[in-house]
């Protein structure tokens, strides 16, 4: 393996190359998100030995295994809860959760809002491809209204979650969103999240070309990625059956900051005070 130098990012330095080829479909945006993440890790000089990646179940959940770090692939919806224990037990580790829209917002939704509220120093990267891809293309909490999926044959009639608004309302320290097309911007956003001392929630607009894209005639990967910033993307909550494709500009970048004490730090200070050692710290 090459020696890692701070100036040049070489993604191979951060991948488990013997697992290649990876299992992601052609055109899947998750690979771009992975590159942006590792680029950010590189530029921040994070030591792979102290890097822990926790992921759940689904396409997003399988991304972590390709990273040459301490990787944990846990139960569906629970990576944030697992990561909470890991980070509290090992504050010295850099803990990143890679999750998906179903993993994070549906089966794991409760853990997301409480992770935001708790503000433990974890970066949560939610890869939003609007669908349950691994299981064949069922509707997810972020599927836009009217979209066709294998469980919405007449078009989705449920409004989609705006995950960033949810995270902000629940108190996340840092909230941001970016599309995969803007890879350097995505890298920068992830760097902000990783450097933030508290809970950072980052939504990555990914794309599922093979299943979701085909089902809805959204074109090839390039077209889907371009559409993410176009006027054709429906905005969460504001769509209706009558007016399903209301023009909007997807808001990206850092969307919210809520600076407050980091949970682990507060716990350790309180514990020290209970032990009678905290007089100086206070």
């Amino acid at each position: 393996m090459n020696e890692i130098t701070p100036d040049k990012f070489e993604i191979r330095d951060y991948l488990r190359l013997d697992l290649m080829p990876h299992f992601m479909c052609p055109g899947c945006g998750h690979g771009i998100a992975l590159r942006a993440l590792l680029w950010a890790v590189h530029e921040l000089g994070i030591d792979k030995d102290n890097l822990a990646i926790v992921s759940g179940i689904g396409c997003s959940g399988r991304v972590g295994a390709y990273i040459d770090a301490n990787t944990y692939h846990v139960t569906h919806g629970r990576p944030l809860a697992f990561a909470t224990g890991l980070k509290l037990a090992r504050p010295d580790l850099k803990v990143i959760v890679i999750t998906g829209d179903g993993d994070c917002l549906a089966i794991g939704g409760n853990h997301l809002i409480h992770a935001c509220r708790r503000n433990l120093d974890i970066t949560c990267l939610m890869l939003n491809n609007e669908v349950y891809g691994m299981t064949g293309g069922q509707v997810s909490p972020t599927t836009a209204e009217t979209r066709l999926t294998t469980t919405t044959p007449a078009g989705n009639s449920e409004p989609a979650f705006d995950a960033c608004k949810l995270a902000e309302a629940a108190g996340a320290g840092l909230v941001g969103r970016e599309v995969t097309m803007q890879t350097p911007a995505l890298r920068n956003l992830i760097k902000e999240g990783l450097a933030y001392e508290g809970f950072s929630f980052l939504e990555v607009m990914s794309d599922c070309t093979e299943i979701y894209g085909r089902k809805n005639d959204l074109g090839d990967s390039a077209e889907m990625v371009l559409a993410q910033k176009s006027d054709m993307r429906p905005e969460a909550y504001t769509n209706s059956a009558e007016q399903p494709f209301r023009p909007n500009r997807l808001v990206t970048g850092i969307l919210a900051r809520n600076d407050r004490p980091e949970y682990g730090d507060t716990y350790r200070r309180q514990a020290a005070a209970l032990c009678g050692e905290g007089d100086d710290a206070a």
Binding site: H73, T75, N110, A271
Partner: protein, 379 residues
């Protein structure tokens, strides 16, 4: 050895046993009748450099425990029936990924919300089969406050030694029972740490078998950078569906318990040498059985008590030995008949096995058992 006398109730004994065993992380969710374990841990852990966190739900609690243990810290959670049900999937993950942890389940009446403040022993089979798939299981059933303390320590030791979840099963009576107990001083306790990976990280295989069948665990930060997954994985830790590797991996998990039964099994025999009526009872029911056996002996009836402390794996050979003179076996349980099925399986059809069951949220009392002993002895 200095001995410290303390008055503790069962839940507090569980917490203090965990602290003595080296537990430094607890994640839990409030549930009757186990909440005092969490409450006590929230007070004790900060004093010993540990961490307590009350999670948002039962599933999050066990998931956080697995995360902390994966980080290298001895960890536990505590719950009761409804929470035990919710934790099952992650107990399976702990078994599959070989992450040590202890789960205390203070049994209350079920099904569903059941009778939250009343004792029961209805989770015996759930402890064995509650999580899907074939997996190794260790479950311990203490019968006194002192034993809750001791078996909690032992639960951690077994969990660490075999890198797997260990379940403590006791009930509302013992959880809220106050008894004076003697705590051994820390220096005399035998504490076990999981085998840690040491040496070269190049080519390290995190799930390669060893002489004991227990692979050494890589500690994050030590440079091994391994993969941990609930997907069935090969020796390298990465998922596979290769039938041979899958068989080998699953069999090794099961063998960790099968090949170490002598170390894992524990039980107590009272007057079993010549017992014609053998009681097999655990937990609070065993306390009633012991009183009943004493009285039966006082009346000249050859009764005896076999008390499994390790419920899973069940101490089969020890039971067969204890039943060698028996003409009948009686299994009193606060359920509709669970462990009795295992007893029937072990002793075969030559020996009549009867249940004595209560599903009304009341503990079985010595009089009921004595009555049945007399009936069985008269046959």
């Amino acid at each position: 050895m200095t001995v410290i006398l303390q008055n503790l109730h069962g839940n507090h004994a569980c917490a203090m046993g965990a602290i003595a065993a080296g537990c430094r992380f607890f994640a839990g969710y409030p549930i009757t009748p186990s909440s005092e374990i969490a409450e006590r841990m929230s007070r004790e852990l900060p004093l010993v450099g540990g961490t307590f966190v009350q999670m948002e739900d039962e599933i999050a609690s066990i998931a956080a425990v697995l995360g902390a243990s994966a980080g290298g810290i001895k960890s536990m959670t505590a719950t009761s029936g409804p929470g035990f049900s919710l934790k099952q999937e992650n107990i399976g993950l702990a078994a599959a990924a070989e992450i040590p942890c202890v789960i205390a389940n203070v049994m209350r009446g079920g099904p569903s919300t059941g009778t939250p403040t009343r004792p029961a022993q209805g989770d015996i089979m759930q402890a064995r089969w509650g999580s899907h798939g074939d997996r190794p299981v260790i479950a311990l059933a203490p019968a006194s406050v002192k034993e809750v303390y001791d078996q909690t320590i032992r639960a951690f030791n077994l969990s660490e030694r075999y890198r797997m979840p260990v379940v403590l099963l006791f009930d509302q009576v013992i959880s809220h029972l106050l008894e004076p107990i003697e705590l051994a001083d820390m220096a005399s306790l035998e504490l076990v740490d999981r085998p840690w990976a040491t040496g070269d990280s190049a080519g390290f295989e995190p799930y390669a078998s060893t002489e004991t069948g227990v692979p050494p665990m890589p500690r994050p930060g030590d440079g091994y950078r391994t993969h941990t997954t609930g997907l069935t994985h090969g020796e390298d830790g990465f998922p596979t569906q290769d039938p041979e590797v899958v068989t080998r991996a699953t069999q090794r998990l099961l063998d960790k318990v099968e090949n170490h039964r002598a170390d894992i099994e524990s039980y107590e025999c009272h007057d079993t040498e010549d017992a014609e009526v053998l009681i097999v009872a655990y937990g609070i029911s065993a306390r009633a059985a012991r009183a009943a056996v004493r009285r039966a002996r006082g009346q000249g009836i050859a009764a005896g008590l076999f008390r499994p402390i390790t419920i899973w794996p069940f101490p089969e050979e020890a039971l067969k030995a204890a039943a060698s003179k028996a003409k009948a076996i009686l299994v009193p349980e606060m359920n509709a008949g669970q462990l009795v099925l295992e007893i029937e399986r072990i002793v075969g059809h030559d020996l009549p096995v009867a249940g004595l069951n209560r599903i009304d949220g009341q503990a079985i009392n010595p009089d009921e058992i004595l009555q049945r002993i007399k009936e069985l002895a008269a046959k």
